[in-house]
Protein backbone atom coordinates (compact mmCIF):
# COMPACT_ATOMS: atom_id res chain seq x y z
CA UNK A 1 0.00 0.00 0.00
CA UNK A 2 2.79 2.41 0.93
CA UNK A 3 4.59 1.40 -2.26
CA UNK A 4 1.55 2.33 -4.34
CA UNK A 5 1.30 5.75 -2.64
CA UNK A 6 4.98 6.35 -3.29
CA UNK A 7 4.43 5.66 -6.99
CA UNK A 8 1.21 7.64 -7.33
CA UNK A 9 2.55 10.80 -5.61
CA UNK A 10 5.19 11.83 -8.20
CA UNK A 11 2.83 10.91 -11.04
CA UNK A 12 0.02 13.10 -9.71
CA UNK A 13 2.45 15.91 -8.86
CA UNK A 14 3.77 15.77 -12.42
CA UNK A 15 0.31 15.81 -13.99
CA UNK A 16 -0.81 18.78 -11.82
CA UNK A 17 2.33 20.76 -12.51
CA UNK A 18 2.11 19.94 -16.21
CA UNK A 19 -1.51 21.05 -16.27
CA UNK A 20 -0.67 24.34 -14.56
CA UNK A 21 2.22 24.99 -16.92
CA UNK A 22 0.42 23.87 -20.06
CA UNK A 23 -0.03 27.41 -21.37
CA UNK A 24 3.66 28.19 -21.23
CA UNK A 25 6.27 27.46 -23.84
CA UNK A 26 6.87 23.68 -24.02
CA UNK A 27 10.15 22.35 -22.66
CA UNK A 28 11.75 19.30 -24.20
CA UNK A 29 12.10 16.58 -21.56
CA UNK A 30 13.25 13.80 -23.90
CA UNK A 31 16.89 13.90 -22.80
CA UNK A 32 16.20 13.75 -19.06
CA UNK A 33 13.65 10.98 -19.63
CA UNK A 34 16.16 9.04 -21.69
CA UNK A 35 18.81 9.23 -18.95
CA UNK A 36 16.28 8.16 -16.31
CA UNK A 37 15.15 5.19 -18.41
CA UNK A 38 18.77 4.11 -18.88
CA UNK A 39 19.36 4.33 -15.10
CA UNK A 40 16.21 2.33 -14.42
CA UNK A 41 17.04 -0.43 -16.91
CA UNK A 42 20.61 -0.58 -15.64
CA UNK A 43 19.51 -1.10 -12.04
CA UNK A 44 16.97 -3.69 -13.22
CA UNK A 45 19.73 -5.60 -15.03
CA UNK A 46 22.01 -5.27 -12.02
CA UNK A 47 19.37 -6.67 -9.69
CA UNK A 48 18.91 -9.70 -11.96
CA UNK A 49 22.64 -10.33 -12.33
CA UNK A 50 23.18 -10.00 -8.58
CA UNK A 51 20.27 -12.31 -7.65
CA UNK A 52 21.57 -15.77 -6.75
CA UNK A 53 17.99 -16.97 -6.36
CA UNK A 54 17.27 -16.02 -9.98
CA UNK A 55 20.44 -17.52 -11.40
CA UNK A 56 19.84 -20.83 -9.60
CA UNK A 57 16.19 -21.17 -10.61
CA UNK A 58 16.62 -20.19 -14.26
CA UNK A 59 18.31 -23.33 -15.70
CA UNK A 60 16.17 -25.66 -13.57
CA UNK A 61 12.74 -24.44 -14.67
CA UNK A 62 13.73 -22.50 -17.80
CA UNK A 63 11.99 -24.57 -20.48
CA UNK A 64 8.59 -24.91 -18.77
CA UNK A 65 8.84 -21.24 -17.81
CA UNK A 66 9.20 -20.22 -21.45
CA UNK A 67 6.19 -22.32 -22.52
CA UNK A 68 4.04 -20.87 -19.72
CA UNK A 69 5.23 -17.34 -20.43
CA UNK A 70 4.51 -17.45 -24.15
CA UNK A 71 1.02 -18.90 -23.67
CA UNK A 72 0.28 -16.34 -20.95
CA UNK A 73 1.26 -13.28 -22.94
CA UNK A 74 -0.44 -14.68 -26.03
CA UNK A 75 -3.81 -15.14 -24.32
CA UNK A 76 -3.45 -11.84 -22.45
CA UNK A 77 -2.81 -9.96 -25.68
CA UNK A 78 -5.65 -11.67 -27.57
CA UNK A 79 -8.22 -11.10 -24.81
CA UNK A 80 -7.03 -7.54 -24.20
CA UNK A 81 -7.34 -6.71 -27.87
CA UNK A 82 -10.78 -8.32 -28.17
CA UNK A 83 -12.10 -6.66 -24.99
CA UNK A 84 -10.83 -3.17 -25.79
CA UNK A 85 -12.24 -3.47 -29.29
CA UNK A 86 -15.62 -4.60 -27.93
CA UNK A 87 -15.96 -1.51 -25.70
CA UNK A 88 -14.50 0.80 -28.34
CA UNK A 89 -11.34 1.81 -26.44
CA UNK A 90 -8.77 3.45 -28.64
Amino acid sequence: MLRILVLVAPLVAGILLGYLLSNRKPVNLNKVTFVAIILLIFSLGFTIGASDEMLNALPRVGLSAIVILLLTVFFSAVLAKAATKAVGMK
Partner: protein
Protein backbone atom coordinates in the same frame (compact mmCIF):
# COMPACT_ATOMS: atom_id res chain seq x y z
CA UNK B 1 16.11 3.35 -28.24
CA UNK B 2 15.56 -0.40 -27.87
CA UNK B 3 19.22 -1.02 -28.75
CA UNK B 4 20.38 1.16 -25.85
CA UNK B 5 17.87 -0.51 -23.53
CA UNK B 6 19.09 -4.01 -24.38
CA UNK B 7 22.72 -2.96 -24.17
CA UNK B 8 22.27 -1.33 -20.76
CA UNK B 9 20.28 -4.34 -19.54
CA UNK B 10 23.15 -6.68 -20.46
CA UNK B 11 25.77 -4.35 -18.97
CA UNK B 12 23.73 -4.07 -15.78
CA UNK B 13 23.29 -7.84 -15.46
CA UNK B 14 27.01 -8.44 -16.09
CA UNK B 15 28.00 -5.83 -13.53
CA UNK B 16 25.57 -7.25 -10.99
CA UNK B 17 27.00 -10.70 -11.51
CA UNK B 18 30.63 -9.52 -11.34
CA UNK B 19 29.85 -7.42 -8.29
CA UNK B 20 28.71 -10.54 -6.45
CA UNK B 21 31.71 -12.55 -7.67
CA UNK B 22 34.11 -9.92 -6.33
CA UNK B 23 32.59 -9.75 -2.86
CA UNK B 24 30.29 -6.81 -3.55
CA UNK B 25 32.44 -3.66 -3.80
CA UNK B 26 29.16 -1.86 -4.56
CA UNK B 27 26.33 -2.59 -2.13
CA UNK B 28 23.57 -4.43 -4.02
CA UNK B 29 20.89 -2.53 -2.16
CA UNK B 30 22.38 0.76 -3.37
CA UNK B 31 21.65 -0.12 -7.01
CA UNK B 32 18.60 -2.37 -6.56
CA UNK B 33 16.81 -0.05 -4.19
CA UNK B 34 18.12 3.52 -4.16
CA UNK B 35 19.20 3.97 -7.77
CA UNK B 36 16.17 2.03 -9.04
CA UNK B 37 13.70 4.03 -6.94
CA UNK B 38 15.36 7.34 -7.77
CA UNK B 39 15.12 6.67 -11.52
CA UNK B 40 11.57 5.34 -11.21
CA UNK B 41 10.22 8.26 -9.20
CA UNK B 42 11.93 10.76 -11.49
CA UNK B 43 10.40 9.02 -14.51
CA UNK B 44 6.91 8.96 -13.04
CA UNK B 45 7.16 12.68 -12.34
CA UNK B 46 8.45 13.44 -15.85
CA UNK B 47 5.79 11.30 -17.50
CA UNK B 48 3.10 12.95 -15.40
CA UNK B 49 4.45 16.33 -16.49
CA UNK B 50 4.36 15.42 -20.18
CA UNK B 51 0.85 14.05 -19.73
CA UNK B 52 -0.47 17.10 -17.88
CA UNK B 53 0.84 19.48 -20.54
CA UNK B 54 -0.98 17.47 -23.21
CA UNK B 55 -4.59 18.70 -23.11
CA UNK B 56 -5.80 16.13 -25.64
CA UNK B 57 -4.65 13.27 -23.44
CA UNK B 58 -6.72 14.60 -20.52
CA UNK B 59 -9.82 14.90 -22.69
CA UNK B 60 -9.37 11.32 -23.89
CA UNK B 61 -9.05 10.11 -20.31
CA UNK B 62 -12.28 11.86 -19.31
CA UNK B 63 -14.06 10.05 -22.14
CA UNK B 64 -12.63 6.65 -21.22
CA UNK B 65 -13.56 6.62 -17.49
CA UNK B 66 -14.44 3.15 -16.23
CA UNK B 67 -13.61 1.63 -19.58
CA UNK B 68 -9.94 1.65 -18.51
CA UNK B 69 -10.78 -1.23 -16.16
CA UNK B 70 -11.80 -3.48 -19.04
CA UNK B 71 -8.17 -3.79 -20.05
CA UNK B 72 -6.67 -5.12 -16.76
CA UNK B 73 -9.52 -7.59 -16.24
CA UNK B 74 -9.17 -9.00 -19.74
CA UNK B 75 -5.40 -9.27 -19.16
CA UNK B 76 -5.99 -11.10 -15.87
CA UNK B 77 -8.41 -13.51 -17.53
CA UNK B 78 -6.02 -14.08 -20.45
CA UNK B 79 -3.11 -14.77 -18.09
CA UNK B 80 -5.08 -17.33 -16.08
CA UNK B 81 -6.31 -18.96 -19.31
CA UNK B 82 -2.68 -19.13 -20.48
CA UNK B 83 -1.82 -20.83 -17.18
CA UNK B 84 -4.61 -23.37 -17.63
CA UNK B 85 -3.59 -24.24 -21.19
CA UNK B 86 0.10 -24.50 -20.32
CA UNK B 87 -0.78 -26.79 -17.39
CA UNK B 88 -2.28 -29.25 -19.87
CA UNK B 89 0.44 -28.74 -22.50
CA UNK B 90 3.22 -29.43 -19.99
CA UNK B 91 1.29 -32.06 -18.03
CA UNK B 92 1.77 -30.27 -14.71
CA UNK B 93 -0.70 -29.23 -11.98
CA UNK B 94 -2.90 -26.74 -13.83
CA UNK B 95 -3.89 -24.97 -10.59
CA UNK B 96 -0.24 -24.32 -9.87
CA UNK B 97 0.46 -23.04 -13.37
CA UNK B 98 -2.60 -20.77 -13.17
CA UNK B 99 -1.31 -19.41 -9.86
CA UNK B 100 2.11 -18.88 -11.43
CA UNK B 101 0.52 -16.83 -14.23
CA UNK B 102 -1.55 -14.83 -11.76
CA UNK B 103 1.57 -13.03 -10.67
CA UNK B 104 1.01 -10.99 -13.86
CA UNK B 105 4.74 -10.18 -13.99
CA UNK B 106 5.17 -9.28 -10.31
CA UNK B 107 7.92 -11.78 -9.58
CA UNK B 108 8.86 -10.65 -6.07
CA UNK B 109 5.27 -11.50 -5.10
CA UNK B 110 4.63 -14.59 -7.24
CA UNK B 111 7.89 -16.36 -6.33
CA UNK B 112 7.45 -16.43 -2.53
CA UNK B 113 3.64 -16.66 -2.50
CA UNK B 114 3.31 -19.50 -5.02
CA UNK B 115 6.24 -21.21 -3.29
CA UNK B 116 4.42 -21.07 0.02
CA UNK B 117 1.14 -22.39 -1.40
CA UNK B 118 2.33 -24.93 -4.00
CA UNK B 119 5.87 -25.86 -2.95
CA UNK B 120 9.40 -24.73 -3.72
CA UNK B 121 9.49 -25.99 -7.31
CA UNK B 122 6.44 -23.97 -8.37
CA UNK B 123 7.80 -21.04 -6.40
CA UNK B 124 10.89 -21.05 -8.60
CA UNK B 125 8.64 -21.29 -11.65
CA UNK B 126 6.53 -18.36 -10.41
CA UNK B 127 9.67 -16.34 -9.94
CA UNK B 128 11.15 -17.10 -13.36
CA UNK B 129 7.94 -16.87 -15.44
CA UNK B 130 7.02 -13.51 -14.01
CA UNK B 131 10.50 -12.12 -14.19
CA UNK B 132 10.77 -13.20 -17.84
CA UNK B 133 7.43 -11.54 -18.51
CA UNK B 134 8.87 -8.19 -17.50
CA UNK B 135 11.96 -8.81 -19.60
CA UNK B 136 9.94 -9.96 -22.63
CA UNK B 137 7.80 -6.82 -22.45
CA UNK B 138 10.89 -4.62 -22.67
CA UNK B 139 12.68 -6.69 -25.31
CA UNK B 140 9.68 -6.98 -27.66
CA UNK B 141 8.31 -3.45 -27.21
CA UNK B 142 9.27 -2.21 -30.68
CA UNK B 143 7.34 -5.12 -32.26
CA UNK B 144 4.33 -5.33 -29.94
CA UNK B 145 3.70 -1.57 -30.03
CA UNK B 146 3.21 -1.86 -33.81
CA UNK B 147 0.55 -4.57 -33.46
CA UNK B 148 -1.79 -2.62 -31.19
CA UNK B 149 -1.39 -0.02 -28.46
CA UNK B 150 -2.83 -2.44 -25.89
CA UNK B 151 -0.61 -5.42 -26.71
CA UNK B 152 2.49 -4.13 -24.86
CA UNK B 153 0.25 -3.29 -21.87
CA UNK B 154 -1.10 -6.87 -21.96
CA UNK B 155 2.44 -8.25 -22.14
CA UNK B 156 3.55 -6.09 -19.22
CA UNK B 157 0.72 -7.09 -16.87
CA UNK B 158 1.31 -5.71 -13.37
CA UNK B 159 4.68 -4.22 -14.34
CA UNK B 160 3.09 -1.44 -16.41
CA UNK B 161 2.66 0.67 -13.29
CA UNK B 162 6.41 0.90 -12.73
CA UNK B 163 9.31 -0.81 -14.54
CA UNK B 164 7.87 -1.14 -18.02
CA UNK B 165 5.79 2.07 -17.92
CA UNK B 166 8.48 4.43 -19.27
CA UNK B 167 9.28 2.10 -22.14
CA UNK B 168 5.59 1.72 -23.05
CA UNK B 169 5.00 5.48 -22.94
CA UNK B 170 8.05 6.00 -25.10
CA UNK B 171 6.70 3.66 -27.76
CA UNK B 172 2.92 4.09 -27.48
CA UNK B 173 2.75 7.82 -26.74
CA UNK B 174 1.64 9.97 -23.80
CA UNK B 175 -1.99 8.88 -24.04
CA UNK B 176 -0.93 5.38 -23.01
CA UNK B 177 0.32 6.66 -19.64
CA UNK B 178 -2.90 6.48 -17.65
CA UNK B 179 -4.22 3.36 -19.43
CA UNK B 180 -0.97 1.52 -18.73
CA UNK B 181 -0.60 2.79 -15.15
CA UNK B 182 -4.23 2.00 -14.27
CA UNK B 183 -3.89 -1.45 -15.78
CA UNK B 184 -0.67 -2.26 -13.91
CA UNK B 185 -2.14 -0.80 -10.72
CA UNK B 186 -5.29 -2.93 -10.94
CA UNK B 187 -3.36 -6.10 -11.78
CA UNK B 188 -0.97 -5.51 -8.86
CA UNK B 189 -3.99 -5.23 -6.60
CA UNK B 190 -5.60 -8.41 -7.98
CA UNK B 191 -2.44 -10.59 -8.06
CA UNK B 192 -2.18 -11.62 -4.37
CA UNK B 193 -5.92 -12.40 -4.20
CA UNK B 194 -5.93 -14.32 -7.48
CA UNK B 195 -3.00 -16.51 -6.38
CA UNK B 196 -4.51 -17.34 -3.00
CA UNK B 197 -7.98 -17.87 -4.50
CA UNK B 198 -6.62 -20.41 -7.01
CA UNK B 199 -4.80 -22.21 -4.20
CA UNK B 200 -8.03 -22.48 -2.20
CA UNK B 201 -9.96 -23.85 -5.19
CA UNK B 202 -7.55 -26.73 -5.61
Amino acid sequence: MIRYILLVLVIGATMGYLNNSFERPIANSFVSEYLFDFALLLLLFLMGLAFGVNKEALIKLKKARLKVLVLPFSIALGSILGGLVSGYVLGIDAYASMAVCSGFGWYTLAGPLVGQLFGVEFGALGFVVNFLRELLTIVTISLTSKLDKHVPIAFGGATTMDTTLPVIVRYCGNEALITAFASGFTLSAIAPFAITAIATLR
